[in-house]
Amino acid sequence: MAQEAEKKAANEELRIGVFVCHCGTNIESVIDVDELARYSWTLPGVVYVEDMDYPCSRQGQDRMIFAIRRHKLNRVVLAGCSPRLYEPTFQRCVSKADLNPWLFEMANIREFSSFCHQNKPKEATEKAKETIKMAVAKASLLERLQSIELPVKKAVLVIGGGIAGISASLDLADMGYKVYVVEKSESIGGHMAMLDKTFPTLDCSICIEGPKMVDVGRHPNIEIISYADILKVDGYIGDFKVKIRRNPRYVIAKNCTGCGECRDACPIEYPNPTDMKMGLRKAISVPFDQAVPLIYTINMDYCIECFKCVDACGAREAINFDQKPEEVEINVGAIIASIGYDMYTPEETNAYGYGKFDNVFTSLELERLLLAAGPTGGKVIRASDGQKPHSVVFIQCVGSRDVNKYEYCSGFCCMYTLKHAVMLKEKYRDEVQIYVFYTDMRSNFKGYEEFFNRALKGGVNFVRVKLENRLVTEDPATKNLTVYGETEDGQQVKVAADMVVLANAAIPSETAGELAKMLAISLGKDGFFAECQPKIRPTDTDMPGIFLAGACQGLKDIPYSVSQGSAAAAQAATVLSKPAWTVEPIVARVDEDLCSGCRICESVCGYNAINVEQISEKQLAKVTEGLCRGCGICSSACPMDAIQMPHYTDGQVVAQIRAVLERGEKQ
């Protein structure tokens, strides 16, 4: 069928239609559109010309379809805006007129002429003419192309089991898709599982996240691969092959009942990262009681191999000191990256004395002190003497909004500081004085400003200071602190404090760079994963089939992360719900007779989409269609001219160049 159509095409008479867009006044105010229309009539092969106000509008498209049918047009050129914006729209439009969408060509006379040469209307018009001439020259050589269909695996990989990943996983699993959740640490839950309360409602964090974690653990469509690392990601949208390494827990998952008798028998303790290393956990333990999956893990960095746990486990025989890392390979149609963030640790040398003065804490450390299941059993006490503080100073924007450190605003610090201030005030009433050294209080979103007012009414003192010249000093004898700041009008403020809490910046996860490389997605300048388009495609990456959720794309609080998790799930479902994913036919085409198998194309391809393989006694370049992004670098690098890019063939490109360089035609 296709061959027949091509034959028909080869024999057919060239009938090009040119549509010139006014784009309201965007084009018309600079360029003489009537002149363009007149000129277009003179170009070879052109049988129809029409100028319109808005071809992209419903009426405009209808008129184009009508014209294509009425004048039996077999090539269409639109002179208007950038193909980046409207090419897919007009391709659909010409398809409606039963024309192959790849017989459509756009001449950009807006960004290339009217926008950039506003003060030179005459020259702009000349340039626009040449642009149209080039487009017509190319259009006359355009070929019919067929879109490529890639089969889609009905499974999805969610990388990172924080609240965003949990939200995405549950949504997709409920839609009926198989979900693999790969989690780096021993339990899913992420940062939210470390929190005591959530703002602005002061809900118990684990009480609202815990049931979701259990749902993930029990869902028949979800498989959690925890304590695991992603090793390699191959493939493309619809068919990703992911290699994962399950790290040894030295505990056999299916035999472990989570009873904790091994933990009670273990003699060794080590600083628990979940408690911000303020408390301890046993060498065989779970990071926190609500861990999902509830499987114990031996930390071999600390274990002395006394085997007391083996005795305690007894007939369950869940402990295996010979466990080795295990590699798993999964095959999925889409991937959601939700790896979250890390917290910046203010260095010892900086002005706030963190790590140097005993009673300077980070916000997450205070969170663990407030938590009833935390290292102090919910008592907020000083590290130096175990006493309750009577004056607490919070310092905002530590590391964030600092051009020398992290220029961005971490977003949620103002709110968690308000939360801590309200909790301390409501817990200790008038026994504690609270000061917040802030620069700007950012409490947008639902219910947040009201929460700020609650803190204000509760007697929290807000001190507005400049970001610079903030300082903490310590009296070495009493370990009491003094916090200095400078107000906007240059006044120095000085507050005595028993405890100082730093709102330290949240930063990209340390694994972000490595994972970005594996997924072939890009990082933004701030180090977070870059979305495809910040406004209208915030969950897409520039790699089709890979989506973003949660703080790994940019810092977010819990409700925002949950929503983005669901958004990414919906995006992934647009892929998974189709039997096959359609991609543009602009993928490299190799002429097997010309190819010498020199591997130059292989070395220049940025997407690993072209590889030289042994094909029937010959070394030939082979293109993986799902990976090829149509950039054309292989085509231009090929010394044998064996690679052509459909829709951008050498013939088409040369015709365009000829058209623009032709003399005599110029007026």
């Binding site: 003699p267 290393k277 303020m278 002395i304 290292p375």
Partner: protein
């Protein structure tokens, strides 16, 4: 407050610390007591302890090897404390000398079996106090109203007889060399070595005139220099098999040391088996395991036939 990990090295002590908001783990190596033997480095399950041999300066006596503990590897289990024959390492948790590995029976304590039959102790003898090479023994005389006696010179025979004698041995630092036992004129003291073994010097390999091992040996009399052949010889009676001599010996295989048994509180632990294997040999470790299992078998038999253990 973030976790503070501290390592402090002074002339007197090497101190390692984990300071957490809620707990304080501390390990102190008393450099005056440390003899630079290799026992702790062999026993350490995390291989965090390294011996650093001191360079020999011509014309000076040999120096004991230094102990260095790697803060990044140390897990504050306290096994070095438990295994040091000289009690040179002290582990404390919040200032208290409590060892979780002992409580959970993950590692044994060395049994320092030192018996003093005070009833037979002569009232005017200080031989054991004088003999102890580590000065761990204090002999005190007390009057009937429990007052310490400064001097015996002005006392009558009867008064002397009425005195109580108290021999105070600082057990936790005692390597049980038995010198006091042998020096005691009345056989009042009995000491059992907690490390048994064999030591021999290969006189052919031992360099003439070298006294490095003798210089550093903390037990006076365990090694002696013979003027006849200008070489060092061993008196096995007093040797505690700590191995400090072997660490400084400049010639490989000149000094042969084998530990065969360690007397310890009962324990069933992989960590101990591993330490024992390194301190003695796989064969000796297997022997202990076998003995243990036969003990268990005996216990169960006794239980069945309702016999009390002898």
């Amino acid at each position: 407050m973030p976790l503070k990990t501290v390592k402090k090295d002074t002339a007197e002590a090497l101190t390692l610390e984990w300071v957490l908001q809620v707990k304080d783990y501390k390990l102190v190596l008393d450099k005056k007591r440390c003899v630079g033997c290799q026992i702790c480095s062999l026993a350490c399950p995390k291989e965090a302890i390294k011996l650093e041999k001191q360079p020999k300066i011509l014309g000076e006596k040999a120096k004991r090897a230094n102990i260095d503990i790697d803060l990044a590897k140390c897990n504050f289990c306290g096994i070095c404390d438990l295994s040091c024959p000289y009690g040179a390492v002290r582990f404390t948790l919040n200032g208290e000398h409590v060892l979780s590995v002992v409580e959970k029976e993950s590692f044994p304590e060395l049994i320092r079996d030192i018996q003093v039959d005070l009833g037979r102790c002569p009232t005017d003898c200080l031989d054991c106090e004088d003999a102890c090479p580590l000065s761990l023994i204090t002999v005190k005389r007390l009057t009937t109203d429990v007052k310490p006696v400064e001097s015996l010179g002005f006392m009558t025979e009867n008064e002397r007889k009425a005195l109580q004698t108290n021999v105070d041995v600082q057990k936790e630092y005692c390597p049980c060399c038995r010198i006091c036992e042998f020096k005691c004129p009345e056989d009042v003291i009995t000491v059992r070595k907690f490390i048994e073994g064999k030591i021999a010097i290969d006189q052919e390999k031992c360099p003439e005139g070298c006294t490095d091992c003798l210089d550093i040996c903390p037990i006076t009399g365990a090694l002696y220099f013979s003027d006849e052949d200008k070489k060092v010889h061993v008196n096995e009676l007093f040797c505690v098999y700590c191995g400090a001599c072997k660490v400084v010996c400049p010639v490989d295989e000149a000094l042969e040391l084998k530990r065969t048994k360690i007397v310890h509180s009962p324990v069933r632990s992989g960590a101990w088996n591993k330490a024992l294997e390194k301190l003695t040999s796989p064969v000796e470790m297997a022997k202990e395991l076998k003995a243990k299992s036969s003990q268990r078998a005996r216990k169960s038999v006794y239980k069945r036939i309702d016999l009390k253990e002898a």
